[in-house]
């Protein structure tokens, strides 16, 4: 059964992955990280990812018409040289967790990476 470390290793194995991080967006804490950080360190990146996630989750626009319990599946930021895939993790107990993949645009495939990231997020919880 995969734990946090195996999950993050799995994310780093995605073609084009530059970093993988498991972020608790109730606090901004990086529960675990692998690879180079997109910010000066993983903790900074986690805190800033949290800000983005919170804005999306608390907005009427993005969540108003959605299922109350898990309104968002992922957030994708397309930058010039990279993508940021932020995938929500759904646990049975209350938690606010996302899996953040920083993906190189030239080396990665957005659709494949997104599909794989989703699967890894589910495996982490379901075993």
């Amino acid at each position: 059964m995969p734990g946090i470390d195996e999950c993050l290793s799995g994310v780093m194995a995605i073609a084009g992955a530059r970093s993988a991080s498991l972020v608790d967006w109730s606090s901004g804490l990086a529960l675990g990280s692998l690879g180079e950080s997109p910010a000066d360190e993983h903790e900074t990146a986690a805190a800033e990812t949290t800000d983005l996630v919170r804005v999306a989750v608390e907005s009427q626009t993005f969540t108003g018409a959605e299922d109350r319990r898990s309104p968002l599946q992922d957030i994708i930021v397309t930058a010039g040289r990279s993508y940021h895939l932020i995938c929500f993790i759904d646990t049975v107990f209350d938690s606010r967790l996302v899996l953040h993949l920083w993906l190189d645009r030239a080396e990665g495939n957005l659709a494949a990476a997104r599909y794989r990231l989703q699967a890894l997020a589910e495996e982490l919880v379901l075993g």
């Binding site: 734990g3 999950c7 608790d24 804490l29 529960l31 608390e58 107990f93 209350d94 982490l124």
Partner: protein
């Protein structure tokens, strides 16, 4: 009480002044055992922090039984059978009650949550280290003490950045008049639920347990609601150095498996560290509740930035 019967080591000769320093010293020595303070305990194994518990933060049992993942009686049996061998976590995995990922996520989340309240407690009181004490859950993951202290500091700054009024963290959560207006519903499902459960009696810790959420998450949301003017801010003084509790009052004398503890019971508070009802509002520090957009505590490191943040929050809340 076995408080003093237990193999209790006096803390290192270089007397630590804060809980963070204490855990740092213990980590540096590669210590194994439990550091117990007024608000909870940190367990170390070979210098790494492996567990934390505090009445301010729901524990793994609260999370798992609260959401119905595991029945309370099933949990009690698990702890009774496997707790004495510190193998509850392993037993949960073995019988398929939980996946490895779920256990790690729940454990790390509750560890950081409880550790925040233990380490951020500067009220003094009785601290002791119980050498060799093990936690009933057993090994799951471990956290470097320095990382834990850094995270605690970061969370404190985060709370103060939202609304620097620590009295909110321990006082009963009271919705303000403004919160009754439908036009003033806060953003986000979680904050609305929190506001709906605030009945003027429950403290943030009680609300966290009731809703099965992290203590820190609720504390932060309470401060956000207060910053938006949706809660009445308690007027009493901020935590002041607390008198040392009588030795007999020390909590958790032994690492006994008691996860099925209190339901809705109040956490034991450090005398003087909380608002003790509105009965005796000590006129220490500012006696004025911070009305939104008005009074600002003078202890803010950078009042200008904090004030601007407050004004922005208010504007956002009213737009």
């Amino acid at each position: 009480m076995s408080v003093h019967a237990a193999p209790t080591a006096v803390l290192p000769p270089a007397v630590p002044r804060t809980p963070g320093e204490a855990v740092g010293l213990l980590a540096a020595r590669g210590a194994t055992g439990a550091l117990r303070g007024p608000l909870g305990s940190l367990y170390l194994a070979d210098g790494l922090v492996t567990h934390a518990e505090s009445d301010r933060a729901p524990d793994l049992a609260d999370l798992l039984t609260g959401c119905g993942r595991i029945a309370p009686e099933e949990w009690r049996d698990l702890v009774r059978v496997h707790g004495p061998h510190a193998r509850v976590g392993a037993a949960l995995l073995a019988q398929g009650g939980l996946s490895r990922g779920e256990l790690e996520l729940g454990h790390l989340g509750t560890l950081f949550d409880a550790a925040f309240f233990v380490l951020a407690d500067v009220g003094g009181g009785l601290w002791r280290f119980e050498t060799g004490a093990r936690h009933w859950l057993g090994p799951v993951t471990a956290v470097d003490a320095e990382r834990l202290c850094r995270e605690t500091g970061r969370r404190q700054r985060l709370l103060d950045g939202i609304w620097p009024w620590p009295q909110l963290d321990t006082a009963p959560v009271r919705p303000s008049e403004a919160a009754r207006r439908p036009s003033r519903r806060p953003p986000g499902r979680r904050r609305r639920e929190l506001l709906d459960h605030a009945d003027g009696r429950r403290t943030p810790a009680e609300l966290a347990r009731l809703l099965g959420r992290s203590g820190f998450g609720v504390t932060a949301d309470v401060r956000r609601l207060a910053a938006a003017g949706l809660l009445d801010a308690p007027a009493a003084a901020a935590p002041t150095p607390a008198p040392t509790p009588a030795p007999g009052q020390a909590r958790d004398p032994e690492p006994a498996p008691t996860p099925a503890r209190r339901t809705g019971g109040l956490h034991r508070r450090v005398p003087g560290a909380t608002l003790t009802g509105a009965a005796a509002p000590g006129p220490t520090r500012s006696a004025h509740p911070p009305t939104p957009a008005a009074a600002h505590p003078l202890t803010v490191p950078d009042p200008d930035i904090a004030l601007l943040t407050r004004v922005r929050t208010l504007l956002e809340a009213r737009l």
